[in-house]
């Protein structure tokens, strides 16, 4: 069980070169956007990973609050960090792609805005955990839950907001070969992120155990 994340990382490391070769050498160039569309093969899996871990963090935070589970708290922290990481990737590669294709880095459409806000909520989650007052781990958990709940709301609100202004379509329908490559890239990225979250959650649990051990040691030394 201890080696599961490393096995996942090894699998992902093997898949990555294959995925990259597929993306650049064996997938046809998209008719409308040209070569720059290749960015999308890593941008979209990152976006999906961000959403998945956002939900995971929200659920783990809920469990942490309900039954005071340390494991849930560790998973929530790790998932929160992964959301910030992948979200940063999405928010940087998205404008790069937009700049290459349409010359506009920020289109302001529903997806982009809600991803940016989701990212900010989870950055706030990490900041509150680190720099907040004494009881901030519970407050941060509340933040994560709100963040997970807010995302569909924000997406919907920006979507109806955008019907007042003209809308740009981001991704049309994809031919089969591109879907295959896309799933391959998902198969490379998702295990990597799962492995990293696993390792981080384990680290957080040992950090909490270490904290407790030190406190007991201090208490024992004080009473001795």
């Amino acid at each position: 069980m201890k080696y599961v994340p490393y096995v996942l990382l090894a699998i992902a490391a093997l898949l990555f070169p294959y995925a990259v070769s597929q993306v650049f050498l064996h997938t046809p160039i998209e008719a409308e956007m040209g070569t720059a569309q290749k960015i999308f093969y890593f941008h979209v899996p990152l976006a999906w990973t961000t959403m998945v871990f956002g939900v995971v963090c929200g659920i783990a935070a809920g469990i942490q609050l309900r039954i005071r589970s340390e494991r849930a708290e560790a998973i929530a922290v790790a998932a929160g960090e992964m959301v910030v990481l992948c979200g940063a990737g999405v928010l940087i590669t998205g404008p790069i792609w937009g700049d290459a294709t349409w010359g506009t880095p920020w289109t302001g459409d529903a997806r982009q805005t809600s991803t940016a806000l989701l990212w900010l909520v989870f950055v706030a989650y990490l900041l509150v955990r680190r720099y907040g007052p004494a009881n901030s781990d519970r407050l941060a958990a509340a933040l994560a839950i709100f963040g997970a709940v807010d995302v569909p709301i924000i997406y919907y609100a920006v979507k109806i907001w955008k019907t007042i202004h003209p809308q740009t379509t981001v991704v049309g329908s994809l031919p089969g070969s591109m879907w295959a490559t896309l799933w391959l890239c998902v198969a490379a990225i998702l295990p990597t992120c799962i492995a990293l979250v696993w390792i981080r959650a384990d680290q957080e649990r040992s950090a909490m155990a270490l904290d407790r051990a030190w406190i007991e040691r201090d208490a024992a030394a004080a009473t001795a």
Binding site: T35, I92, T93, I96, A100, T192, R200, Q203, L210, A213
Partner: protein, 91 residues
Amino acid sequence: MDITALPESESAAPGGEAESPENVKKVEGRDPETVRLKRAYESEVEAKVASDHQHIVWAYGVIWVLFVGYGMLLWRRANAQRADLERLQKR
């Protein structure tokens, strides 16, 4: 369009009557106008592909830096925890 096989021929205006001798083959799309147009398209495509490649390199570079950076962060934290555990066990 009547065109001569010699590219430097000045009398090869589109639709213009060139002095085409009997034994010269007519080749489509080789008049200077079309050729210039095609070369202009090609340089535009080349510029776009070069710019696209730049964007792709930046995008993938950013992703790599983010993940490698996070990996290094985890590695450092693991080392710090190991050292801490040793100190705890020593006392």
